[in-house]
Symmetry: C2
Subunit: 303 residues, 2 copies
Amino acid sequence: MTISWRDRPVGIVGLGLIGGSLGLDLRQRGIDVRALVHRPSTAERARQRGLADQVDTDPAVLQPCGLVVLALPLDQLLEPPAALVAALPAGAVLTDVGSVKAPVLERWRQGPWRFVASHPMAGTAQAGVEAGVAGLFAGRPWVATPAADTDPSALQQVRELAELVGARWLCCDANQHDRAVALISHMPVLVSAALLEAADVEADGATAQLARQLASSGFADTSRIGGGNPALGTLMARHNRDAVLAALGRYRQHIEALEQLVQQQRWGELEQRLSRCQQLRPEFLPPATAMEPPGPPAADGRR
Amino acid sequence: MTISWRDRPVGIVGLGLIGGSLGLDLRQRGIDVRALVHRPSTAERARQRGLADQVDTDPAVLQPCGLVVLALPLDQLLEPPAALVAALPAGAVLTDVGSVKAPVLERWRQGPWRFVASHPMAGTAQAGVEAGVAGLFAGRPWVATPAADTDPSALQQVRELAELVGARWLCCDANQHDRAVALISHMPVLVSAALLEAADVEADGATAQLARQLASSGFADTSRIGGGNPALGTLMARHNRDAVLAALGRYRQHIEALEQLVQQQRWGELEQRLSRCQQLRPEFLPPATAMEPPGPPAADGRR
């Protein structure tokens, strides 16, 4: 009889939105969760919230684990503390949650562990030890980007973990993942941020005030990700720079073409392009799910 | 004793989202509503839905009205049918609902009526005779843009109408209104549409497919208004062209500046600008209201 990964504790490094939510979901399903955090105050609060069975600031807490999830921000995934690297149990299956995959895979593929690069795509409006909520991954994609030397049984274990918490499992090439998320996630943050900057007119105080009074749900939606976590937006641009620049270049061509249609009063063509956009959008909408995460959907509490 | 505008029937021309919603709200408050529509089939359906007390395709239906609301699309407001213009009751207070104010004011300020240019800012994801819902205007801005020759008592009557259905009344200059809505409504439609176009990569079929699979609520929000009604987006750009071009010019400067920071790897500055965006966004959010419109919030039914 094979011993399942479920029969040993699962380790989580970091108990922010992703790590904390994963801890709650795994514990609900009877998994013994051991978590490593940086600060004693975080450990204390995580224990109060029940995010893991054991929480410690000593990397030794990970020793009994057969599967460890690095739920750290991108910069720490790419330059991990030496003490953490040294404490990872030899032979363990190791995965991460970073939103850029090629550099993370490059950093971790070699080592005394079996690494699977992965990316659970779940909401990130909240952060920190208070952010974790049960059910965050339900119905959301969890993308793995295996390399030629990725251990198939390690890949299978991470898949089982993802599916245990209700995520939709997908596999693709790391560079392809990074290009796709640049288009639908990283570049749009800058598009949305530029909108907020442009709306912040200062030359004419009365218009600035009026724009604030008249902005409605359309502006709120379009500006939501541009008004999100600045550190996260910067990390995405920094560590997925080539794909983000390529996506921005594409974007600029399209906004300039639309501007030209307005400039040249080519209204029929403008309406045709907007009709195409109307047809296109449903192709990009996530499948409706009855299992929306129970936490607040956006930092501002609005839909 | 003064006879109030409420003591005579109120006319509504057009029973789409705005006209139909207004009819429902006014009738609920005991006002006698007379509506003019173009097609007999629309009239029939509007009667079934109870959008007005009398609905007709004959402009004579407006004759007893002391206050008439032109709830027509921008192009029809700017080039109204001669039969409609001829049938408007002499001396009536007349207002409109167009999302661009300077050209509408210019078209209607002279005439045998007392015109008040106005713009109720309420959701527009739905259209047509099925779209009207009660409560649409509750808590939303209703902006008037009076000119020097606008009749003060007419302005007051339109204000009372707007406040009767729960809207927040605002007054400003027509050009200032048009610049503000270009920034927070009309230009963002093109920004959002360009995002959909850019995400629709065709050169690499696998990335195109993956982008569709991975797009989540952030992309759905940012692309919502770009995937909206193409005719409406075109009308806004067409009839508010100068202000939309000025806003697009501003926008382009900002997106290019952000692109340059990524290109030049100036991560500290990028994070500072994103922090400013994070601070800025709450200034543009509409005040929370317990009276959200009861209709579907977006064409796709998602938040």
